[in-house]
């Protein structure tokens, strides 16, 4: 689709933005080369919700991570514009052959905000802290979701089957992490803010007694201490998080003096706040607001899609257990139209259950091109010419992978009706919807999706198809085994080739129809420059300047 001229000139691609940034950073440096003094000012950014906690280890929500990324850094970051791991607090790493042990060389001269040295001991203190999470509330999946989904259990508690074995220091700036079994996603997973390095001194000083909720203790609300370009000024819960520039930052210091994060739940209210100058930028622009904002002169920054929207089919509901019927449905859907009618501009239709940035993406999957006539023939062959299907979709919700489910539903409904399928719409509010789709068998075809956390195919297809579930309603031991084996691979190259095969297998089985990876957008006032977007939202504001 052609972009309106104003939009075209305002939309910044990731690459172009990164280039612009380099220029910007260069000019800053050339102005004040020695001191690295900043441009100053306050950058006010609106997210959709309040952070849950400022201790990223106990967080799994995007808003907590957004703030954490400004204050904390992990051993591993991501290459700008991609989901691939890049050096951060570790300058280099080597993994042994069977992917059970990784040795990291650490960045020297780094200090936490409280003056504590960052070194091998600090790294081990962090790993040991995670592994020794006390039983009780801290071990609930709501608090330690990422540790549990990646590293499994803890030193003590209900689940002691952990991937983590030990941490060894080899001198001050080299550290080795040993795992109990191979995990090729280990290094990319460390780019998650949940595994960012925190000051052992501050953690000890402001520790919460075991059994108490650590997300609301003094450390997590007043004294979160990392190594990042910003440090916490105040968190006025319910109102705002104020971050001050860390003048002693080991890298290039932040350009603005201060960054403030406010929460505005309603997307229209966020857009209005930008228009009236209350905020300098905001995330999760509603698809309907993108063009008007661009035409009004605001800068729209697209984030490379790292998500997937799909049409799920419940094989517990007849005749969706018939592969021919599933195939007919796939051929009945015109993904291009779904994208143009209900998803943001720039979105590309999907061919499999992961975006192309993910390791293991296959160019050779069966694509089931739009062919309504073939769909009708297949339905007739399956004896389902007068098929009636329940179509579930959520209301009053907007997810990055599903900005307007009602619109997407309408497009697909008319396409299914065009091949003679009678659609019985069932709309539910989000929480009820999730309960119905994931917790019961009482649904037919449905809309759902996922936003990836880091570059690992298991984080997409493993989550969807790794075991029997009410959502898909099938029992396919061959696929379950294939996905289980994928988790034991020992190199990225091996993983790439293997998951290409898995993706082909999935698309042959066709449990659902992958629709698209919608492009999420951010919007900024004209004065804001230097915002680098990231597919996995690894966005650090040190390069942002205002005015």
């Amino acid at each position: 689709m052609r972009l309106p001229t104003t939009r075209a000139c305002c939309v910044l691609t990731v690459g172009a933005l990164a280039l612009g940034l380099t220029a910007c950073a260069d000019s800053e440096r050339s102005d004040e080369p020695s001191s690295g003094q900043a441009s100053g000012g306050t950058f006010v950014f609106a997210g959709a919700e309040e952070p849950v906690t400022l201790d990223p280890f106990y967080a799994s929500d995007g808003e907590s991570f957004r703030v954490a990324r400004q204050m904390f850094e992990g051993l591993v970051g991501t290459k700008p514009g991609t989901a691939d791991p890049a050096p951060l607090l570790a300058t280099d790493w080597t993994t042994n052959e069977d992917s059970t042990s990784t040795t990291f060389t650490l960045q020297e001269g780094v200090k936490f905000h409280d003056g504590t040295d960052f070194n091998a001991e600090a790294v081990c203190a962090n790993f040991e802290r995670w592994y020794n999470t006390p039983p009780g509330i801290a071990q609930s999946e709501a608090l330690t979701y990422y540790w549990q989904s990646l590293f499994g259990g803890f030193a003590e508690g209900e689940n002691t089957d952990s991937l983590y074995e030990s941490c060894e220091t080899n001198g001050e700036f080299e550290v080795t992490i040993n795992l109990t079994r191979p995990f090729v996603g280990f290094v990319p997973a460390l780019s998650l803010p949940a595994f960012a390095m925190q000051s052992p001194t501050a953690l000890d000083k402001y520790a919460v007694p075991a059994g108490k909720n650590p997300t609301q203790g003094p450390y997590a609300t007043k004294y979160p201490t990392g190594t990042g370009p910003f440090k916490l000024d105040t968190w006025e819960q319910g109102t705002e998080v104020r971050l001050a520039r860390n003048d002693d930052y080991w890298g290039e210091p932040a350009l603005v003096d201060e960054a403030v994060v406010v929460a505005i739940a309603d997307p229209t209210a966020r857009a209005d706040a930008l228009r009236s100058g209350d905020v300098d930028g905001f995330d999760l622009v509603g698809p309907a607001d993108v063009d008007p904002l661009a035409e009004e002169g605001f800068t729209i920054v697209d984030r490379a899609a790292f998500n997937i929207l799909y049409l799920g089919m419940n094989q517990n509901t007849e005749p969706l257990d018939d592969p021919l019927v599933r195939e007919a449905i796939a051929h009945a859907i015109d993904k291009e139209e779904v994208v143009s009618a209900s998803l943001p501009e720039g979105t590309v239709p999907a061919t499999q259950f992961m975006p192309d940035l993910v390791n293991g993406y296959s160019p050779d999957v069966e694509t089931y091109d739009y062919d309504p006539q073939l769909a009708e023939e297949m339905l007739a062959e399956a004896g389902q010419s007068d098929l009636t299907l329940e179509f579930n979709y959520p209301t009053e919700i907007s997810r990055p992978y599903m900005p307007s489910p009602g619109d997407t539903f309408n497009v697909i409904r008319s396409q299914l009706e065009a091949v003679g399928i009678t659609v019985k719409p069932t709309a539910d509010q989000w929480e009820d919807y999730l309960g119905k789709i994931q917790g019961t068998d009482k649904h037919g075809i449905h809309l759902l999706g996922w936003t990836g956390d880091y570059n690992d195919p298991d984080n997409f297809v493993g989550v969807f198809f790794g075991r029997e579930s009410s959502e898909w309603g099938y029992d396919n031991p061959k696929l379950f085994d294939a996905l289980a084996e994928g988790r034991t691979l020992t190199s990225l190259e091996e993983q790439d080739a293997y998951y290409q095969g898995v993706n082909e297998q999935i698309m042959e089985f066709l449990p659902g129809v992958p629709l698209a990876s919608p492009v999420p957008s951010l919007a900024f006032s004209e004065e804001v420059t230097g915002y680098v977007s990231s597919p996995v939202q690894d966005e650090v504001w040190s390069t942002v300047s205002v005015g």
Binding site: T53, Q216, L434
Partner: protein, 334 residues
Amino acid sequence: MLRFVLRRLLLMVPVLFGLSVLLFAWVRALPGDPARALLGERATPEGIESITRLYGFDKPLLEQYWIYLQQLVTFDFGSSVRDGRPVTDTFLEQFPATMELTAAAMLFAIVLGIPLGYISARRRGGAVDSAVIGGSLLGVVIPVFFLALLLKLVFAIELGWFPTTGRQDARVDATHITNFYVLDGLLTREWDSSWDAIVHLVLPGIALGTIPLAIIVRITRASVAEVIHEDYVRTADAKGLAPQTIRNRHVLRNAMLPVLTTIGLLLGLLLSGAVLTETVFAFSGIGSYLFDAISQRDYPVLQGYILFIALIYSLINLLVDIGYGVIDPRVRVS
């Protein structure tokens, strides 16, 4: 009077107890469950089970209620399932915001409503009366969220006179002691922060205060129209009292009784009506938090907040009853 107040306070105990039963039953009758809401797409059967167990939602309902009741007696309202914060803490933190907003809305409604109602009654059938009646009808029928969006569009976005969201500009350096931002600015002598907080109250205050304004205008008008035909007003007039004395001591004072009752009732309504206004203006009070709690099925927050609101509502009504005595000595005597 003291006995009256004490009796009313004691009466609140069974009322609140009954409400706690209803609330407990109601939040658990909501479809969906907090564990699933909390985990969203990431929910696994094990994750849901562990959270359900952790918060005791798997226990028999009677046992859950018994635990809840035991906590209530010790003023422990539990902690939010979503963010783990104690319900009492968040309520106390957010209540000043809602109070400020409600006060602004009420101020707008009373300051404008009583004079308009009075003028309208005195010039019954005239052009002013027709305009006031028409306007108040419009005020009652216009949905709050629509008015809020309209006000934002015209006065914040197009004209740029007011901010669109929040309680204070993030760029204003303000110290918050009591969380009543206007008051905080006065206490710390940060005048600009006080002024900024007032500016932020204007549009939400008008949006929230429009329905009460319309109601107050109508009640005042009807009440004044009735009182001005009373014998004592005619007598006062015949005695040759000055018109403003008649207006203040005889007409308004007597006409205010039904208005006061209405204001008391409206205050309670405003507390709950703030949900929409706070959401539209991203005004971080109890309303927007409660709104999130409903969609998140956050049982402790729902139970705690609604109980707090009911308590405040009861206290306001008590104050209104005491206010009767002050305005009308006849009530005191009886």
